[in-house]
Amino acid sequence: MRELIGLIPLIPLLSSATLMLFAGHLSRFAIGLLGVGSVGIAAILTAKMGIDFLGNPEVFKVTLWTWMQVGTFSSDVAFYFDGLTLVMMSVITGVGFLIHLFSTEFMEEDVSYARYFAYLNMFVAAMLILVMADNLLLLYLGWEGVGVCSYLLVGFWYQNSANGYAARKAFIVTRIGDTLMALGLFLLFTELGTLDIQALGDAAKDKWQVGDSMPLIACLLILGGAVGKSAQLPLHTWLPDAMAGPTPVSALIHAATMVTAGVYLIARTHELYLFAPIAMIAVALVGLATSLMAAFTALTQHDIKRILAYSTISQIGYMFLALGVGAWTAGIFHLMTHAFFKALLFLGSGAIIHCLHHEHNIFKMGGLRTRMPVTFWSFMIGSAALAALPMTSGFFSKDQILLQAYQVDGIGPWLWFGGLVGALLTAVYSFRLVFVVFFGQVNTEPDKDTGWRMVIPLSLLCILAMMGGWIIIPVTQVFPLAVFEHPAHWVEYVSIAVPIVGVIIAYLIFLGGQLKVDVFTNSFVMQKLQQFWFSGWRIDWLYDQLLVRPYYGLARALKLEPVDNFYRLVVTISQTFNQWLSAGQSGQMRRYITSMVFGLIVLLAILVRAS
């Protein structure tokens, strides 16, 4: 069975290749079957491996072949399987399967049906390779692979240039992070002589001391990669734009799996981070700042998918916070629950968009509670989990994060407080969404209802979003045991109460109308602030001014090849000489004689001078 682990990414990959090569020869049904079935098989295989593992929790490694071996550098195509891998694989194949199934209905009318599933399958394969990789180079392969698939899927509807722009932005911004990560790999290899993740940990123990500068630099570089892929400050700007892709793609790639790869990466390399406490704090601070920034932004958006996108950014911020405070398990746990409820929310929004003629603006929706009951309940459950209302999956994971953040020496309470503010905002914006979209008057009539291929994934995800909190993830062997000392009870009570308060505030403002905030929000300062938040804190604008425009300007300035000017100058000089000299050839013989006389004088001068 273990040897067959390679099949898990291979099957979606083969399916993808088949779909690309024989797209024209397959019926839509066959395409759907291949696309969904391949991920389904992967999911079943994963489940089998999971059951085996839970019965006999033994870590193993399967080497397929040597990828490259040059000098002392060697990297294999090898898979490593432990609890963490299992969790990630389960999320990818499980949630992935549901989203694939959902897609068959969502994309039903699209002409590029086969292309869609080809990309999606390829993504699943790449993502699996990412989490299964035994060494950082293979991980990097998956890492870049998912990036390309994300690019392809964001720009899936390439006919619209805006989508293409969003896709390119997504790829290039994450590439910046990827490059930092690549540099991190170079540094790790140069310092530790290997890229095998397990070997790295051992080598680090031999060569590094806690607090050294090398681990700090290396960890920061890896953090750079994680920040890019997980859309954290300051490289988060691509994710809201990436919503240009089909909604199931947003669910799978930009909510459940790919964007959490950064969390996985840091968790996977946590042994290195243990040598760099400053890097850990950096991770926590990045996470907290991102989660607050994104929460404020989500509050002001009115595109349903952008709200969810900012919410994703914010939630990943929580995961980073968890990693930064050493709550590895809690971080991964939140990763999993987030995958459930965020996929649920995205799919729900997909269903709405699907049924509402591709309407994205929440203020043009409303009253959908009765029109689309399944979707409504999905949203309710999803939002509850997102807001971390008690007993939902989100509650368990977020609570753990906040409590463990509180434990950190020194800044712990501040981190906790920041997290709480975020939690409050989360509750507000998520229920703002629910109240605006599903209650009130009907602004747009849906023209169809959700079919079974949408209902089943939604229902299953509802269950997971509700019950996911009780799953115990098998990562105890992976991470060092957290010294968990239960904080004072008031801390816990406050943590539980804050989301509920948030929901109430949202109700009062957006549904009940009891809380009149118009005067407040219409004030000049608040207007400006709202605009500021709406624009995503003008970070896009900043990058545009600082990087994009200068680069375009540079490219435009250099377009005509300034280096060639040198060669043109040489040519011009030669031509000028040619013209001068040619002008001398006037045809008048007396000039010729003069030239000869001149030559004679020169020769005489040279020769006689010497004598």
């Binding site: 990828w67 870049e144 990827d178 540094l187 140069t190």
Partner: protein, 504 residues
């Protein structure tokens, strides 16, 4: 003799192609394809009989008998000039690449050559012959001869079958390479004269000249002569300006050969001649060369980003990619050198394919201006998908050949100079920027539904499949290639007795 035959087959094939035009306009291309494939098969059969290939005995650079093949016969004894050809792992890779891409080139211009097909195919075959000569010649005189002579048929290909501004482009190409070639000739002769002065023997043989004793100052200047010639061909910053023009104006097959093979002769020259002949001087010069390499990587990428002409963009991307080769060579450790070799091979395929796509677009749209393209995926989905493949290959997607190359080069460079590696790594980002822009402007965006365009047919798909397979294999299982070049690279490093920092 086998190596001579390889060249002769192509030369004679060219003559046959010219005369075959009398049988019909479409005969020469078939002849050309047949000739290249025969040559390839001949080579493969011959290689399969070499016992060393299995054991991969490390060749000693100065001992020709340890090479895979060696052939030597007197030519101009007055100067000790011999017809001396030899093959080791590195040249074998290059020869294989040449012949495969040669076949691709014939296929690439299957339909776009409308006049004087016979002469065209002849020039193509003769260029290939010249390139083979460059890769196999180990007598410096003979090497120089091939180096220069291969340009003439290439010149004709651009000058006769090129696009609107072909005269200028062909001229620029020829003058750049010839002028720098003259410097190399002076260097070669100076080297030989010095060797003659020391030993009283006239010889142009690589194997003898490796041991030439040269004063440091002189060696530096001589090395510079070689360096300039090779870097112009590579092309490295700031000698690259001939390339965009030549590429843009050349017919498709010309671009394919130029980008796929001809540029590699520069890299090959650096690895084979410039550094081993003058190890000490090269070491001293390495920092400058490395900076030039980095400059090429970044500058090429920025300029590629600014272009509106499809082929020009790809041409500048070559400048950027070949910058990595320069970095790889002058980092001069086994990682970086292997990376450089990989880059030579992988870039050969990826760029050749992109030029072929550019050629197909020009044939169909009669323009290379990307402002007049857009949404072509809609019209030609197969071509779009293939373009996407090669574009992600060229931006260095792991799993494809180019990534292995760039990764190894950067990793190797990192051991030597971290700052430079960091700057060069920016090339990964800028590379993504121009690659995706290319895709966006040509294949994505608003489609023009009124266009009636023919998608890739079987011939094109087959050709592309060859290159795609090659890149995938290079990407996920590069070890065979690395193993072939490893002994060469290792021995070169040990021979030059240069120890550059790092853990290697």
């Amino acid at each position: 003799m086998l190596m001579i035959n390889l060249i002769l087959i192509l030369l004679i094939g060219g003559v046959v192609a010219i005369f075959s035009e009398r049988l019909g306009a479409d005969v020469p291309r078939k002849v050309a394809l047949a000739v290249v494939i025969i040559d390839l098969i001949y080579l493969l059969i011959a290689l399969s009989t070499i016992p060393q290939l299995e054991t991969l005995q490390a060749p000693v650079p100065s001992d020709p008998e340890t090479w895979l093949m060696h052939y030597s016969v007197e030519w101009i004894p007055a100067f000790g000039i011999k017809i001396e050809l030899a093959l080791d792992g590195l040249s074998m890779l290059m020869v294989l690449l040449t012949l495969i891409l040669g076949a691709v080139a014939v296929s690439a211009s299957w339909t776009d050559i409308k006049v004087r097909q016979g002469f065209f195919e002849a020039n193509l075959l003769w260029t290939l012959a010249g390139v083979l000569g460059v890769f196999m010649a180990l007598d410096l005189f003979l090497f120089f001869l091939f180096w220069e002579v291969m340009l003439i048929p290439m010149y004709f290909m651009i000058a006769i079958w090129g696009h609107e501004n072909r005269g200028y482009a062909a001229m620029k190409f020829f003058i750049f390479t010839q002028a720098s070639g003259l410097l190399m000739l002076v260097s070669i002769l100076a080297l030989v004269v010095i060797h003659h002065g020391n030993t009283g023997v006239w010889t142009f043989s690589y194997f003898d000249l490796l041991s030439a004793q040269i004063a440091a100052q002189t060696a530096f200047w001589l090395m510079l002569g070689f360096f300039v010639a090779f870097v112009v061909k590579l092309p490295g910053f700031p000698f690259h300006t001939w390339l965009p023009d030549a590429h843009t104006q050349a017919p498709t097959a010309g671009s394919v050969i130029l980008a796929g093979i001809l540029l590699k002769t520069g890299a090959y020259g650096l690895i084979r001649f410039a550094v081993p002949l003058f190890p000490q001087a090269s070491m001293e010069f390495a920092p400058v060369a490395l900076w030039l390499g980095v400059a090429g990587v970044i500058y090429g990428a920025i300029l590629a980003f600014g272009q509106t002409d499809f082929k020009r963009l790809v041409a500048y991307s070559s400048v950027s990619h070949m910058g990595f080769v320069l970095l790889g060579v002058y980092a001069w450790n086994i990682l970086a050198l292997q990376g450089a070799v990989m880059q030579m091979v992988a870039h050969g395929f990826s760029t050749a394919a992109l030029f072929m796509i550019a050629g197909s677009l020009q044939e169909r749209l009669h323009t290379r201006d990307m402002r007049e393209m857009g949404g072509l995926w809609q019209n030609m989905p197969r071509m779009g998908a293939i373009a996407m493949f090669f574009i992600v290959a060229s931006l260095g997607l792991p799993g494809l050949g180019n990534f292995v190359a760039e990764f190894l080069v950067l990793l190797g460079l990192f051991q030597v100079d971290r700052l430079l590696a960091v700057i060069a790594a920016l090339g990964l980002i800028t590379g993504a920027a121009y690659s995706l822009l290319l895709m966006q402007r040509s294949f994505q965006g608003e489609p023009d539904e009124t266009r009636q365009l023919v998608d890739f047919g079987t011939r094109e798909m087959l050709t592309m499949a060859v290159m795609m397979t090659a890149l995938i294999v290079l990407g996920i299982y590069p070890q065979p290639i690395l193993d072939i070049s490893r002994p060469v690279v290792e021995s070169l490093i040990s021979f030059s007795s240069i120890v550059t920092g790092g853990s290697l």
